[in-house]
Amino acid sequence: MYEETKYLTAGDKALNMEFGNSISVEINNKIRSMTEAIGTQNIKGIVELVPTYRSLMIHYDPLKTTYQELVESLRQLEDKLESIQLPAPEVIEIPTLYGGDYGPDIENVANHNGLSIEEVINIHTSNEYLIYMLGFTPGFPYLGGMDTRIATPRLGTPRTKISGGSVGIAGSQTGIYPIDSPGGWQLIGNTPLPLYDPKRENPILLKAGNYIKFKSIDEKEYMEIKEKLKTGDYQYNIYPKVEEGDIDGSN
């Protein structure tokens, strides 16, 4: 993390607050705090915030504020950031059916790491993964914190179509495909929860700065959840993140 946050111009309607030049939980926490804190303030002219790995893009309307005014307000807010009470990040449970047709590459992952399928599932479901940012396609989460014991290189030949909800591993990263798209990830499972649903009140399920936790389910539960989602009876399991020493969970 930089000692002093950099304020960088990104054209005449946006600026970047850059907090560091690496991917780290510490930097991402700062970005989340700043994003949340701006949300509690009423800073004139702010249009939209886009948190990413190590910076926060602030889109603003220069007809309503000046760059100097905006930067001044942001610096002041940054100074008192410690004293602002912010809600704890949330963890959302992602029920996932592992293996079989739902996760055809789980054996690759097991074989590559000398583990049983059971062990792969246990390891994959044990950590809470930080959502560093969303991008690439609507609702796609860039997750951190996967256990390196299940790291597996991408497929030699990418699939032309991966169905939405697929849970996969690429190198030391894990992720979920929100919508059908091509890709080379090793698919280990599938979640019935739509990450992107234009008809839902919040079309995107996940939010940068929060966490996800995978939970292993069987096919019967998978179908039940699908049914409940259809009728609107499914209760998302969301709870506040409990602070711990190593939230990166990479050991």
Binding site: L8, T9, D12, E18, V47, T52, L63, M133, G139, P203
Partner: protein, 344 residues
């Protein structure tokens, strides 16, 4: 309320408004009209809210059949619009009738036209916008470009049609040329380039390649030299950002750009100049000129003032100075004729 039928879709005709804001943090592209100024003017001319949904037409225009009387206005690049085969004026609101056919005859200047319909296009808003994002099948008309046989509904305008006709922008705010100067603000990653690289960027002529679409414009020319490659840890991308990946050729990021990206951005085209790039075609040449942020904001204010002036002119009600009544006899039939003299 009225309907229009798409007889021929053209190259790429989509429903757009001024964009989908507030969802970039979730990975949803902004989309919206590429040439936001022309889109605003088109809506102003037909008495709509500036952000109302309209059609963005690209290079090869569509053929549209009107099934009801509707007031329309066409702005932006001049693709030679015809009504029933007759040339019609751009930048002016006109009444079209049931059975009339709007077509386009080629490219005179620019490459994107905007057709606004008094009352606006009736499609539901998705995440607060009517804009179409085709890559994600989001918004607009069924999340896609228009196809032959599509029927779109035009909402009832708030004013009677005859009060909306004849509104005109006399002096265009932009001229679309094939030699384009784009003013650029440095950053956010200008420090990733060598002095020589930055010099190259501002002193070379770049050509618009065939790879130019709503997502971005790939340019070709003198390579811009990096200090240490063109990759960065992904961050946000603003409209008009000039990305330079390791290959050294600039790419200007446009309306359908991805929300985040991992390439160095040497600078950002200023807002006032975005319509110029939105109207650029393959083969056009581009030079970049450095400006300071204060200058960009001054120019933006100036543009807004000019749009306000157009708005006032258009909204201004026609004032009748005097009314004269005549009785005319033509071939033995008597007509009562009323002439209204208006203030010019």
């Amino acid at each position: 309320m009225g309907q229009i039928k798409i007889n021929k879709p053209g190259l790429l005709t989509t429903v757009q408004d001024l964009g989908r804001y507030g969802y970039q943090q979730f990975g949803v592209s902004v989309s919206g009209a590429m040439d936001h100024v022309s889109a605003r003017i088109a809506n102003i001319l037909v008495g709509n809210d500036e952000n109302e949904g309209l059609l963005e037409v690209t290079m090869l225009g569509p053929e549209i059949e009107f099934m009801d009387p509707i007031v329309i206005a066409i702005t932006g690049g001049d693709l030679l619009p015809l009504l029933n085969g007759q040339i019609i004026k751009m930048n002016k609101s006109i009444l079209v009738n049931n059975g009339d056919i709007l077509s386009f005859n080629g490219i005179k200047s620019g490459c994107r036209s905007y057709i606004a319909f008094a009352g606006g296009i009736e499609v539901s808003e998705l995440m607060g916008s009517k804009s179409t994002f085709t890559r994600g099948s989001i918004g607009g008309f069924q999340g896609r470009a228009l196809k032959q046989g599509d029927i779109l509904t035009i909402a009832e305008p708030s004013k009677p049609l005859n009060s909306l006709i004849g509104k005109e922008v006399k002096k265009s705010l932009y001229e679309y040329s094939s030699k384009i100067e784009l003013r650029v603000i440095m950053g956010p990653q200008d420090d990733a380039f060598t002095e020589k690289g930055i010099e190259t960027f501002f002193n070379s002529e770049y050509k618009v390649t065939n790879q130019c679409d709503r997502m971005g414009y790939r340019l070709e020319g003198e390579k811009v030299e990096h200090k240490d490659g063109g990759d960065i840890i992904s961050d946000g991308i603003a409209m008009g950002a000039v990305q330079v990946p390791s290959h050294g050729n600039p790419v200007i990021m446009m309306a359908d750009r991805q929300t985040t990206g991992g390439y160095t951005k040497i600078g950002n085209v200023i807002n006032v100049d975005l319509p110029k790039i939105a109207q650029a075609k393959p083969g056009d040449t581009i030079i970049f000129k450095k400006v300071e942020l204060e200058e960009a904001h001054r120019l933006l204010n100036e543009l807004e003032n000019n749009i306000d002036i157009i708005k006032e002119e258009v909204i201004k009600e026609i004032e009748v100075v005097r009314t004269l009544n005549y009785k005319l006899k033509v071939n033995g039939v008597e007509y009562n004729v009323q002439v209204e003299e208006i203030k010019s």
